[in-house]
Amino acid sequence: MQKSLNIDPNKCTGCLQCEMACAYELEGSFNPAHSRIKIFHFEEQGRFVPYTCTQCAEAWCLHACPVDAIKMDATTGAKVVDEATCVGCKVCTIACPFGTVNYNQSSGKVIKCDLCGGDPACAKACPTEAITYVDANWTGLDKMREWAAKTDTGTTTAAAKPSAPAGH
């Protein structure tokens, strides 16, 4: 079963623990400047939104790379940059419609989310479960459950009532 990062901005408090965890995984230091996941603070609406690569099935970055430095990890489905092959041409950063592949000045290569080999540090570090790592086929399950509960308003009590007189 493949898993996907599932992001719920409603739960995000904007603490950046995920950014620290990501950079730590990458380079062994706490450095949000090198994180592959970013939290955006929309102050005027009081919203905090985590954003990172969603690992497109047909990945623009992968197809655009002239040296085939971006490959798919067959186990996780992640599109992974092979640093040894990457020449830092940045074409993938243009091809990606979402801006989630970025150039890293200190390494001269591009960096993007690689799902930490199937155990993403950001999801583990998130204190509010705004970022979770779940069955790729069912990233919508929580939202469905929430709406299912709303759709069902009142029917539980209605169903329970008729059974009561029957017992008497």
Binding site: A21, F30, E43, P127
Partner: protein, 614 residues
Amino acid sequence: MTWHRKILRVNLTKGTCETEPLNMEWAKLYLGSRGLASKYLYEEIDPKVDPIAPDNKLILATGPLTGTSASTSGRYVAVTKGALTGAIACSNSGGFFGAELKFAGYDMLILEGRAKEPVYLMINDDDVRILPADKLWGKSVWETEEWIKKTHQDPLIRVASIGVAGETGSKYACIVNDLHRAAGRSGVGTVMGSKNLKAVAVRGTTGVKVENPREFMQVAQATKTDLKESAFTNGLTQYGTQGVTSVINATGIYPTRNHQQVQFEGADKIGGEAMFEVRETDGRTNMVRNSACFGCTIACGRVSVIDPNHFSVKDKPQYHNASGGLEYESSWAMGGDCGIDDLEALTYANFICNEQGMDTISFGASLAAAMELYERGYITDKETGGLKLKFGSAEALVEAVELAGKGEGFGKDLGLGSKLLCEKYGHPEVAMTVKGQEFAAYDPRGAQGMSLAYATSNRGACHLRGYTIAVEIFGVGTKLDPLTTEGKAEITKLAQDTTSAVDSTGLCMFPNFAWTLDQYQQLVQADSEGDWSMEKMMELGERVWNLERLFNNKAGLTTADDTLPKRLLETPAETGVGKGLVALLDKMLPEYYELRGWTPDGQPSNDTIKRLNV
């Protein structure tokens, strides 16, 4: 690791920006943040200096845990001689600026001198520039942050700046970072303004490493779990600091109308729960959501939106968006202490304090003092310029906060702070201050430990220098009778020393509701080289406290300044748990001096200085 071992020293008179090695001898004695910055200030300035003279210095300092993945790692401090108090000032702020300063590669930024013209400092890792701020002078904190990000084409820059209050000499101007986080107290923003320094902007990309990564990650995780499981810190997540309003008011230690009463009939309308009530007018709640500072897994911050139909913002669409909401102290100072129960007006006043860079506590309490002066007829419409300063008037609050923010009209008088304001109009007894600084939201008559904590606080009246409320009211760890004086000298000393140590780590003090000093110690030990045992941590706290005291003594403060306003010492509380009681300071002070190893005239003895290696 831990420390970058690097200081950035900026001399605004000469226009120089230089780096120098951190004094590691001092770092091993004073750790970081509050402790280490205080040591630098103590060694580098004459404590008798005029706070707003160029010879005063302003130090922005991080701690060894700032910028790490330990929970609440976003703190920095502003240390200087306080413009409000003339005592050593150390104001602590969260948000994201502190961590960014650390990521830029500096443990500390020392600001010296005075620029000839308004300037701001732009730090891009090791590229540091002093740039003209002529386009920023006269602008608010919010406009300043937006302008800097836009001008440098970098939305990831973090900014700490002063508003117009700091430019126009308000005694309690603060330094605001990330729009609504403030190094709030004692007039640290006033000092920044006196240096013609509008803002410090930082972008840091160097990162922070720890000494023992494996151990550190384990301790960081375990201590986060402690926070997650504590009812106290969960309460902070849900209701923020505002959650204590109802308890403190019900106990009867909620200073009301400039400390004339200890319970406020309108407290429930301005507390943590009220922020969740759906407004009839627009169908929304004041509270939008909670928010976190850098690295914080508690997220006590409030994001609020004002009812657009409310009189304070009706014709001001720029205040219809969400922004930083009320904390307990702010809600109390501008609310209960002024007898005002209008949550929307308080939220508006809070926005303006953030926007123009004013300490919400000192502003609110100064307004409360002005209201008492007005109601007693000591000042009239003539002095106030027509402001009807009646207790309970939300209209007066809204007008007053705008004037104070800009330093205009009677706002200029309000910017003097309670002490100078009341002295100016011949009634110093109306000022509810210690060492020139206004009280926080706890009346000491019903929590006797606070009498001592307020009177001996090194930065003037303050709840964050020895929060005996934790044991006297909430029973965190242990519970003491709030009405007696027994054991209070000891608990006050313990709270002061512990807090001094915590404030030197780079973490917030709020985890202390779920942790003891043990957890901080484990984090420091895993993070930092050297020996940071519990014994060392307690010694650190005591050392910092004594160093601050020595600074104040040299600045000319004496035992006569370790006191409380007459109202608290002589007028018994009318209601509440402390009904019939006054603040019994005299019973505790000599014992406290003795426990501290100080002489009866409040000087740390030579033995104490030697023992602590101050």
